[in-house]
């Protein structure tokens, strides 16, 4: 019977998870985000249900929020590009050069750091990057000047790239694994040199995998606020930090909700582009 009514099947399959999602997650999220259109009474700091666009106006007109959003997006983009560049040759090695056994070991090796707590790993980076840390000590012991990367935006870039790298390697590896040998042989037969073949044949086929990995690296960086607190410098506020600061004593939930719409909007745009590039085929 189910096969005869094509629309019934997806409905039945989709109902439990969607019901779950809608009832709990989206409803509570919706209630929170709707406050973006309200405001708080400066005297009682209670939420006043007066519809207005004040919060959005503040975000758009005050330059500090532009620089915070810009910084968050820029670092998220840099991290994504860095991870793609780091991951591609590694995944290429895993997929096309390494033996079966080495493949398995490398795959496990890439997964393993995910089990060492995010907090502990970021904390270890403080030790590496600070003024008398591992990096400076190593540089100075071979006579080079210290790098002094601790507590800077560069430090955040490095740490984020490190933390999310496994999330990029795995989809890229999965995509590379699926590229048939015969395609590369055909390209060689047609006279393409190795690098040309890689650029013109492999990269387009792997692009969905890269984009899929980038969804993780970009969105997870966009919403993070712990790494800026731990390794950031004086001017390292992310969107998440400002959201965090407004919830609590200030009770400015409307403003925090308005600011939250920004990463949501950015991700919606990003996902649309990713879909066009076929990323959802390659997750």
């Amino acid at each position: 019977m189910i096969w005869r009514l094509p629309w019934l099947r997806p409905l039945l399959l989709l109902t439990p998870p969607l019901a779950w999602f809608v009832a709990i997650y989206l409803a509570s999220l919706g209630l929170l985000l709707i406050t973006a259109f309200w405001t708080i009474n400066p005297f009682t700091t209670q939420i006043v249900q007066q519809w207005n666009l004040d919060n959005f106006r503040i975000i758009v007109t005050e330059s500090v929020y532009w620089s915070i959003i810009g910084r968050t997006v820029l670092i998220a983009a840099l991290v994504t590009i860095t991870d793609a560049v780091l991951a591609f040759p590694f995944a290429y090695y895993m997929a096309r050069v390494a033996s079966r056994r080495v493949q398995t070991l490398l795959f496990a090796a890439v997964l393993l750091p995910l089990w060492a707590s995010y907090l502990a790993r970021v904390y270890a980076w403080i030790l590496i990057l600070n003024h008398s840390g591992v990096l400076n000590w190593s540089l100075q012991s071979i006579g080079l000047p210290p790098a002094n990367l601790g507590y800077t935006n560069t430090a955040m870039w490095i740490v984020f790239s490190y933390i999310w790298l496994p999330f990029m390697i795995i989809p890229v590896y999965a995509a590379l694994e699926r590229v048939p040998d015969s395609l590369l042989e055909a390209a060689a037969d047609l006279g393409a040199r190795r690098w040309r073949a890689v650029r013109d044949v492999v990269v387009p086929l792997v692009l969905p995998g890269i984009v899929a990995g980038s969804i993780f690296t970009f969105s997870l960086t966009l919403g993070d606020y712990i790494t800026p607190i731990l390794v950031g410098g004086a001017s390292s506020n992310f969107i998440g930090n400002v959201v965090y600061a407004n919830i609590g004593i200030a009770n400015n939930i409307p403003f925090a909700a308005a600011l939250t719409m920004v990463p949501v909007a950015i991700m919606a745009v990003y996902l649309t582009i990713a879909y066009r590039l076929g990323a959802f085929e390659a997750l």
Partner: protein
């Protein structure tokens, strides 16, 4: 006690007179739970107690004896910031949490948000032994009603590297000095604006700053400008105490605003640091155990408050965390545990004059203490802080 009553009565009068002049009618001088009558006796323990607190505030050494004696099993939920505490305690604790060890910057928010209710000081025998200031401090006692019992306090000190500053600095000027560019750290907390205001109250008396938490727009803007000028000199705004400890230990910074806790940890690790309170005075934080409006285990809550107010536990907690007890009898206990600690932690200070040099945190509200309504509220402090950090 009498002074407190007098202050409360005069505040009541001011409030009564003040509110008749306002035309917005939007302020509520009376906290929502002001008329909730606290219990008159402590009944049987409920067997459980859920606390939202700072890390280390229920150390095993004094928490375990408490559980043994009262049967109240402690469930701890450590919070990382005052903002987190306020968020968790929303809606009277949600029927989940019994007490919160709130710092001064959060207290008034919790009170006026109706999340905590009045407590009966008669049920806490050691309350009589508290330093006078901490019996009715303005951040947890309003109109004579106690919305919590004071716990411990600490000054926000100037921490410095003794190698870089062989002579003890005498002014907060060092953290605003471009000569120390890239070597300074201050807390990542909007309440830091009050520190700037305190500094300006001494260095720019023309601004007329009396209370660093009640600032007119002009005074507020001046403090924000000072901090914006300071921002390029800052290496890192510390959010966690261990952050600052790492900064000093690694040599990334040489001077900054800190708590005594950091000094103790750094000295124990052999770092060349020391702290001081400069001539302009200092802000301070003071913690209060507050009872959630919907606390499910109020009897255990009162038992706990009684326990941590005793001189023995006050001394233990002070030494364990690195803060100063409010119980004036704790000084002797501290000396017995660690010679010299009483003076080191300023636990021997009892005069009102001394406490007047410390500006204790309280939540900045739009309505000033005198009833006028042109003080800058905390939400603006937060947006200004975001602008300062950039």
């Amino acid at each position: 006690m009498k002074l407190g009553a007098l202050a409360a009565v005069s505040m009541l009068l001011l409030v009564a007179c003040g509110s008749s002049n306002t035309n917005t009618g939007a302020t509520t001088q009376q906290p929502p739970t002001a008329n909730v009558k606290p219990q008159q006796s402590i009944g049987a323990g409920e067997g459980q107690l859920n606390l939202v607190l700072w890390d280390g505030y229920a150390d095993k050494s004094w928490a375990d004896p408490f559980t043994q004696q009262t049967g109240c099993k402690l469930n701890l939920h450590p919070a990382g910031s005052s903002d987190e505490m306020v968020s968790l305690m929303k809606d009277g604790g949600g029927g989940q949490w019994d007490m919160v060890s709130a710092s001064g910057d959060a207290d008034l928010r919790l009170i006026y948000g109706g999340d905590v209710k009045p407590m009966n000081t008669a049920l806490i025998p050691d309350w009589q032994n508290f330093q006078n200031y901490f019996k009715n401090p303005p951040y947890n006692t309003i109109n004579g009603v106690h919305y919590g019992i004071s716990l411990q306090w600490g000054p926000n000190t100037l921490l410095y590297n003794t190698k870089k500053f062989p002579n003890k600095p005498t002014s907060w000027q060092v953290i605003y000095d471009p000569a120390n560019k890239g070597l300074i750290t201050v807390p990542d907390n909007p309440i830091q604006i009050a520190d700037a205001a305190l500094y300006l109250s001494k260095t720019q008396a023309s601004l007329g700053i009396k209370d660093p938490y009640e600032l007119t727009q002009k005074q507020f803007d001046a403090a924000v400008k000072l901090l914006k000028d300071q921002q390029p000199l800052i290496k890192h705004y510390w959010a966690l105490a261990t952050d600052e400890i790492n900064l000093f230990q690694s040599g990334d910074v040489v001077v900054g605003a800190a708590w005594p806790y950091q000094t103790i940890q750094l000295k124990a690790a052999g770092a060349p640091v020391d702290d001081t309170i400069p001539t302009e005075g200092a802000t301070g934080w003071a913690d209060t155990w507050m009872l959630a409006n919907k606390a499910p285990h109020p009897n255990c809550a009162y038992m706990w408050t009684k326990w941590v107010s005793t001189k023995q536990v006050q001394a233990e907690q002070a030494l364990s965390f690195g803060e100063t007890p409010v119980n004036s009898q704790a000084c002797a206990e501290m000396e017995a545990l660690q010679a010299g600690s009483c003076a080191q932690y300023h636990a021997d200070q009892t005069s009102a004059a001394y406490f007047s040099t410390i500006s204790f945190w309280k939540t900045p509200l739009a309505t000033c203490d005198d009833g006028s309504q042109n003080c800058v509220p905390y939400a603006q402090w937060v947006s200004a802080w975001t602008t300062i950090k950039g």
